[in-house]
Symmetry: C2
Subunit: 262 residues, 2 copies
């Protein structure tokens, strides 16, 4: 690959030309990456309402009008059908395809939801010298299905899924402050230090992703996870649902820092 893929437009181009199919972690530093959920229009109101009611797991960056594949606000030059490195297609809640492009799946009634992703707040944590264990250990962040129900909306309901990052005890307050600035990308933690209160029995056995080391003097801190809306949407068994492939996010031209409050 000749390009360093520092700008989203370079990445989209490389994907369109079939030159890039990997994870987007670490690419295009400073630009917000997004979880993708694409649903038929008849489910769009219920799903948008679900996101509205559960902003921590489902922080909406943008919603594209029915049938349109241009993220007018989040990435006006991109094509949502071709510019994500990997897609997953579900029918009636079952994975049926993992295409490189959505050109053959596209329909005039599809509504695209772009939901914030933890890459933005992880970058802010690292800039504040707060370690990110799963990055250090080169594994996928551990995710846990909790005993806490999201606020339901229409046909959508299900448990909150969280990620866990071990934070040194003396940096917990700063970690809360730093991530509170970014409500558009999961925001403040949902819980500090008490896995049992979320129904998590064993930190070593995440529901998805990999376990990470919690060192002495570190506190497990839990943030709402973007897997929540995907799990909830899948559970409703829509006739058609399309998402990005894990780790292969859609990269927007929204600047991380512009998503910060205060």
């Amino acid at each position: 690959m000749g390009s360093r893929l520092d700008h989203p437009s370079e990445l989209w181009q490389a994907i369109r030309e079939g030159k890039f199919r990997g994870t987007t972690a670490g690419l295009c530093p400073g630009y917000a990456q997004a979880n993708l959920v694409i649903l038929p229009k008849e489910l769009a109101f219920d799903f948008l309402l679900f996101c509205q009611r559960n902003p921590k797991p489902c922080p909406v960056l943008d919603v594209i009008e029915p049938g349109s594949f241009r993220p007018k606000l989040a990435a006006p030059e991109a094509d949502i059908r071709t510019d994500t490195p990997g897609y997953r297609v579900y029918r009636d809640g079952r994975l049926v395809d993992q295409p490189d492009s959505l050109l053959s799946y596209w329909r005039d009634d599809l509504v695209t939801f772009l939901l914030g992703c933890s890459f933005t707040f992880e970058r802010a944590l690292m800039e504040n010298d707060i370690p990110i264990r799963h990055i250090e250990e080169k594994v996928t962040v551990p995710m846990y299905i909790t005993s806490r129900e999201c606020v339901p909306a229409g046909v959508f309901h299900g448990p909150l899924v969280v990620t866990m990052r071990p934070i040194p005890r003396e940096k917990v307050v700063r970690a809360v402050q730093v991530t509170s600035r970014f409500p558009a990308v999961h925001g403040a933690p949902v819980q500090v230090g008490d896995p049992a209160s979320l129904g998590i029995q064993d930190l070593g056995k995440p529901s998805f992703g990999d376990p990470v080391t919690v060192k002495p003097g570190e506190v497990p801190v839990f943030w709402a996870c973007g897997v929540t809306p995907q799990a909830v949407a899948m559970h409703a068994q829509p006739a058609l649902m399309i998402t990005h492939a894990p780790g292969q996010m859609f990269v927007t031209t929204l600047k991380d820092e512009h998503l910060g409050v205060l």
Copy 2:
């Protein structure tokens, strides 16, 4: 009136019994009051998306599922059809009735939007010893239609409407900080000190409400206004739209302070 109407449930009861029809300003201190916009289901997705894209003028506190009149999240014991002191009914964008109750208008396809109201952040300003001129002068806050377009969504589009409060120069920073804490009720100002940049030619001639005195050493500060979504909705000329009457808000059981971030 015997009761002091300190709690929303006392107010709802008084309204239901026909004992209260006035403005809700100053009632039930500490509880968030809401702008009401009720639309048929076929417009609900577009309107929710409009709110999502324009959170400053359209801060969503809650949306009630089609046909339901119980604000399950914002005021579970209330009935949205009877517990607001005044309603306005519009057909095709024209005011046709100002009923005391919506019992005869209710339909199974109506979706109720509860949008945050500036009463919450005005209270926070006053607690910080920042004067609210229109309250001191006992008039309605001055509102201005600006030259700034909201981000459109589906059939909904139109200009941003703002309120203006004169703030002593040395308290402007604090006023920005205090209101930034409340994104669910219009949040930070949209402009400080330059009416012309919003297309406002004469502060003495507001589009709605009353002019207020701007004293020497004071800066006009502009916040997004809840009249925006009503004006935008009306402009789309929906077959049916219902709102609260001006100043006669729906009072929720959400605590003002719980709407604060950080």
